[in-house]
């Protein structure tokens, strides 16, 4: 029988004087425990993310040797430089075109993977995600080698078709192309995986209903798939815009901003000016220019995430 002899659990004798505040202190204890558990996180973010962000605002107002306060002097200086506007233009074109292609390719490839029987999907997914797994610094080295002026494997192959050697990293426009291409190569798998997961969550019955209603494959995508995936598409695109916009590794390794600054973007130019040129305030000013653009994107993301939260 279950009535085994055991010490009866003792409940604290409650006299009439037991106050309700003891429950309140218990609650408070939970609050303080929770606070303590998030404290390292809060410290990390405030000290190493938020503070530096504001500190860079301060830094941008100093002169090169950081002795004097020059207010907006650095910004004025930048506005007058052609290179600066070149960097702004290039950053935007680079980010937007890369993201558009990444999203498009990711979407298309996701569809193909979704079409094949489930058993095979895993190994195709595995192969297609490899670019994202390899550290970008390493894979960009491979691309650098593939684009090498003297030994480019691509030029070797193109020579068979009679196409003359292409100065992949030597010519401004080709250099821009390579930078965007490598970025697409690296980032499309991310979109593919996201979209694939989202595709799987669209109920089959919607497609069946659309087919019965007479929709062809294009209409099914437009009227069923895309609306169901709207949120994921919005979020991944905005995420990627921010990350691509702030990208450093690929440009730095592939072209180092060249030739002649024609592939510099904010991150690499800030590095050139701030660290290599030992002008920290100027570098900070360059970096800061990313903020308004990132802020706008962040607002859009927040709005979308909230909207999704309300819909859910």
């Amino acid at each position: 029988m279950v009535d085994v002899a055991i010490q009866p659990n003792s409940v604290a004798r409650a006299g009439g004087a037991r106050k309700r505040t003891s429950l309140r202190t218990a609650l408070k204890r939970r609050s303080t425990a929770a606070f303590l558990m998030t404290l390292p996180l809060i410290l990390l973010i405030s000290v190493l993310v938020l503070y530096p962000a504001f500190y860079s605002l301060y830094l941008a107002t100093l002169n090169k040797s950081m002795q004097r306060f020059v207010g907006l002097g650095n910004f004025e200086f930048l506005f007058k430089r052609d290179t600066f506007w070149l960097v702004v233009k290039q950053s935007c074109i680079f980010a937007i075109s890369a993201v558009v292609f990444k999203a498009l390719i990711g979407f298309i490839v996701a569809h193909f993977v979704h079409n094949i029987p489930a058993k095979g999907q895993r190994k195709w997914r595995g192969m297609l995600l490899v670019p994202w797994v390899i550290p970008p610094a390493m894979s960009t080295l491979a691309w650098l080698w593939l684009f090498d002026p003297s030994y480019s494997a691509f030029n070797y192959t193109l020579a068979f078709f009679g196409i003359g050697p292409i100065p992949w990293t030597g010519d401004a426009n080709w250099a821009r192309f390579t930078v965007i291409l490598v970025n697409i190569w690296y980032g499309a798998p991310f979109f593919m995986i996201m979209y694939l997961a989202s595709l799987k969550s669209v109920p089959d019955q919607l497609y069946e209903a659309a087919a019965i209603d007479g929709a062809n494959w294009w209409q099914r995508i437009w009227y069923v798939t895309l609306p169901m995936m709207r949120n994921i598409i919005a979020i991944t695109t905005l995420f990627s815009l921010i990350v691509t916009f702030a990208n450093f590794d690929i440009v730095r390794i592939l072209t180092a901003g060249g030739p002649l600054d024609y592939t510099h973007i904010f991150a690499t130019w800030a590095f050139r000016v701030g660290i290599e040129g030992s002008d920290i305030p100027l570098g900070a000013s360059v970096s800061l220019f990313m903020v308004p653009i990132l802020a706008v994107a962040a607002i859009f993301i927040l709005r979308d995430v909230n909207k999704r939260g309300n819909e859910a």
Partner: protein
């Protein structure tokens, strides 16, 4: 084992009062069921007994001790949840022994308790499986096993059978009753299903809008409901309510349903309603089981009338009939071979010995 007492217990969420002053005495070893529609406050009350919700006002006592500020783990209670709440990464044995392991009970003790509970619930061969390998009914048994091994003062059940299909529900009801017979722990059981309440409880507490409507044994509630709510809630199909008036007739009282339909009241009833004002708008409460086909010989207090049926529902052992009386749909239960047909006429008998008279405005049974 212990008794549980609730004194003027109130629960307020911001401005909403979910529980508005509950007084309840549960005796040791008793099986009490809190029943009522969604939102009536029964689950909230249970959770306050468990300590999962704070008490806004009043006192709750377990075994004579006020436990308002005592955390759940020190109240010596065990709870069975609607969704079983089994730990998915632990085996059945580990699930059942988790509480004991936390309190550092000796291993031998734990093993013997778990084996005993498993035997009682017939889950011994499942002891090494994980929850996801179990069916709904098996999971619910494990949840009960987890409660049993703790040997607590009170068992708390929060709608444990709601997630099971109808057939399984019937089986598990019997299991729960058997367990209670063996273990005899004080039990507080919450459900919205009045059939569960009637079959399991020693006493039933009917709740509505945060208040107790009536407390009583299942029989009490069935035969002597105190309010319209209880009268309509207990019993399935539900009691019929027909507008009516009392009128003098000869030496006794008649109850008039429509212009053409009036019945004399049996003497016991007439005596009881002696002081009710005549011509006041009242409700006649009569259960479907007391509206049957007219029998051969007349019994005292049973009156007959003719009607045309709307719909019949043959249930096998009886047929439910539905007909209209002055714009109100009425339900009755007749013998399957009484000749009830959709749209056909039938002579019915109403047993006024079991009638109830209600004041429409206050909902109180007279």
């Amino acid at each position: 084992m212990a008794d549980v007492t609730l004194r003027k217990v109130i629960k307020r969420y911001d401005e909403v009062e979910a529980v508005r002053g509950i007084d309840l005495d549960i005796a040791d070893h008793e099986f009490v069921v809190l029943v009522g529609p969604s939102g009536c406050g029964k689950s909230t009350t249970l959770r306050m007994i468990a300590g999962l919700e704070d008490i806004t006002g009043g006192d709750i006592m377990i075994g004579g001790d006020v436990v308002n500020d005592v955390p759940p783990k020190d109240r010596d209670i065990a709870m069975v949840f609607q969704n079983y709440a089994l730990y998915p990464h632990m085996t059945v044995a580990e699930n059942m022994s988790f509480g004991l392991r936390l309190k550092h009970y000796p291993k031998a003790e734990i093993k013997s308790r778990v084996t005993e509970a498993a035997r009682m619930l017939d889950i011994t061969d499942l002891i090494d499986r994980k929850p996801k390998q179990l069916s709904g009914g098996q999971r619910q048994r494990v949840a009960m096993g987890r409660a049993i091994v703790r040997n607590p003062k009170v068992f708390l059940f929060d709608e444990p059978l709601s997630n099971l299909d109808a057939k399984l529900r019937v089986q598990m009801r019997i299991e729960i009753k058997k367990v209670h017979q063996k273990v005899r722990t004080t039990t507080v059981y919450v459900t919205h299903d009045q059939v569960e309440a009637m079959t399991l409880a020693d006493r039933v507490v009917v709740m509505n809008h945060g208040r107790i409507e009536q407390i009583g044994t299942p029989n009490d509630l069935y035969h002597n409901p105190a309010t319209r709510f209880v009268a309509g809630f207990i019993g399935s199909p539900a009691m019929n309510f027909l507008p009516c008036r009392l009128e003098e007739a000869g030496g006794g009282l008649n109850i008039r349903l429509t212009d053409r339909l009036a019945f004399p009241l049996p003497p016991a009833r007439a005596a009881r309603y002696r002081n009710v004002p005549r011509d006041e708008k009242l409700l006649l409460g009569i259960r479907p089981e007391h509206i049957t086909e007219a029998k051969q010989h007349k019994e005292s207090g049973v009156e007959t009338f003719d009607t045309v049926l709307d719909v019949t529902e043959p249930m096998g052992m009886e047929t439910l009939i539905y007909f209209m009386l002055d714009g109100v749909e009425v339900c009755g239960r007749v013998n399957p071979n009484a000749g009830a047909r959709d749209g056909g006429p039938l002579r019915l008998a109403v047993d006024l010995n079991n009638m109830h008279l209600l004041n429409e405005g206050t909902g109180v049974v007279l």
